[in-house]
Symmetry: C2
Subunit: 338 residues, 2 copies
């Protein structure tokens, strides 16, 4: 059986297609009884308006797209999943269509962002997983729909910036280490193409300067958010600078690599050397006596992004998406003083 069209419904109901259209779209100028009858018939026939036809007729559904850069087979920190489900739920709660799109470095050079938006007929856009050098960041002027980026600052003022205050959080973590007597604190950071790396690095320096400690470039390790690289580099670092008494890491994953290197030298994490991570991934609570870390809530980020874009679409006053909250979760890997 072919798909029922509005014409089929009209025929069966003995009215014109205009009336069917009106009845089904809650127009007021339809006899209540007629409407009832038509609705019933449509339901029986399993009639579903053809979106293409609707769109051609001039009725466009609003859609928020979530564009994820570089979607990987696994998501160790759960961040992508959290963001995804957050945006998705925000759309559901606000009764607006949600679609998921993906891209990568190559596609970004091949298909302009504008084209992506047009193809999907987007009304609003949320982006996640982007790096500072990504081509799409340069194309923000071209798209004329509300747009939000998660965890990366863009230089375009009307693009919403959904992120927590990474600089402050990092500073707080490092200050915590200092307050607890650590003086030789190394940084294990992501690459400079991730905006959060820059901010977390800056927070690290800020805390050291606050305390009058020297900021040494060779104490700032880049491990690209990779556990193994962090492990390797920490091994070498410990060799060269055995006086280190703490590591602040820009991700829990890297922190795990760091801890592994520490323990391999027969040292105890949380004793001779304190470690603080970032994210509070699920494993964090279990390892090395519990990893002290900055917790962030990716679901909330996604939800806020979706909601903010929705409100912008609806022309509501620009919500000042205040920086997301974070929380320093203190566990065994870097204890507070009693």
């Amino acid at each position: 059986m072919e798909r029922a069209t509005i014409r089929d419904v009209a025929k069966k109901a003995g009215v014109s297609i205009t009336t069917v259209s009106k009845a089904l779209n809650d127009y007021t100028d339809v006899n209540p009884e007629t409407r009832k009858r038509i609705q019933e018939i449509a339901r029986q026939m399993n009639y579903v308006p053809n979106v293409a036809g609707r769109s051609m007729g001039g009725r466009v559904d609003k859609v928020i797209g979530l564009l994820i850069n570089d979607l990987r087979p696994i998501d160790p920190s759960g961040s992508v999943y959290g963001i995804l489900s957050g945006v998705c739920h925000a759309c559901q709660d606000n009764n607006i269509e949600f679609i998921l799109m993906t891209t990568d470095g190559k596609q970004q050079t091949q298909r302009p962002l504008k084209v992506l938006c047009l193809r999907k007929q987007l009304t609003g856009l949320v982006c996640a997983g982007f790096r500072l050098h990504d081509p799409y960041l340069q194309q923000l002027e071209e798209i004329d729909i509300p747009c939000a980026f998660i965890d990366i600052r863009t230089d375009k003022p009307d693009v919403l910036d959904i992120t927590m205050d990474n600089e402050r959080a990092a500073r707080e973590a490092v200050s915590f280490l200092i307050k607890n007597g650590r003086k030789n604190i190394a940084l294990v950071n992501g690459g400079p193409d991730a905006d959060v790396s820059i901010l977390r690095g800056s927070g690290y320096r800020w805390a050291l300067e606050d305390a009058g400690l020297t900021v040494r470039p060779d104490w700032m390790i880049t491990a690209n958010f990779d556990e193994n690289i962090a492990y390797q580099k920490t091994r070498a670092f410990l060799e060269q600078y055995p006086q280190v008494d703490a590591f602040f890491c820009a991700s829990d994953l890297m922190a795990l690599g760091v801890c592994r290197a520490i323990e391999e030298r027969g040292l105890t994490v949380g004793e001779e050397i304190a470690v603080i991570g970032f994210d509070d991934i699920p494993v964090a609570r279990y390892l090395h006596g519990g990893l002290t870390t900055i917790r962030q809530d990716f679901y909330l980020m996604g939800y806020m992004a979706g909601k903010a874009i929705y409100q912008k679409i609806e022309g509501q006053p620009d919500v000042h998406v205040d920086h997301m909250m974070y929380e320093l979760v203190v566990r065994g890997s870097a204890r507070g003083k009693l």
Copy 2:
């Protein structure tokens, strides 16, 4: 600036819209030079064919939808993420459109599956996260597109069943315990509304019977895939049956609850009591000397599901989606004999 239409391109190129359409859709009856010129002009104008218009014209894009039931804010086992990225990548690799949809118990009663498919104009469907009592399982006759379900058997023969052999895997795990001297083995299972629970339970019984051990119903605990429930019930169980020397759990999450209860009694996991889980979630390797578990590859499942549906759409001979592989990963919580 308004969105460019095919007419705009035609005008600028000084040809008819037909020619533009042909040029852009790789028809052969266009002068190569004309085509070149039109393509260039279209690119310059940022022309993107309106999908609705295309669809009305009779050119329908093929779409595979992934329908996830009960999408939660977090995904502790990473299974949903893995499946999602798997299906997504399969679609990319085969150059077919991918869309993500979600539903839940309530929506299932309100909107027929058929309607969902029609609305999204699906060509193929992959479903994940469903339970045996879910309404959509009864509506499979109505939809007339290729369809695959992940981790749940349907009674419809032409619906693809993407899953690993849960019964065999469970049997293997329990046999492993027996082979290593365990004789009093309890089962901690999910609820009976999850098909995998039934299969894993059956595999557990199978192994016991193979070994001539008694299957005792009160040794089969239902913990609904919840860590805390598993913890609570295990506490009570240990009280009542202190002779237990092993637990086989239908998920790692539950296994964690079980281990917690065991250690709380001052016993050592892997010594007095062995524990085997299921899934191999990221934390598994780290806890309780490493959790012995059945590893499954959700990304692969998603990928296979997407690929199988694609092949069905393309009319290729029905791939016999052989049962996914699994692997018993032996770690400290249930060691093998030397």
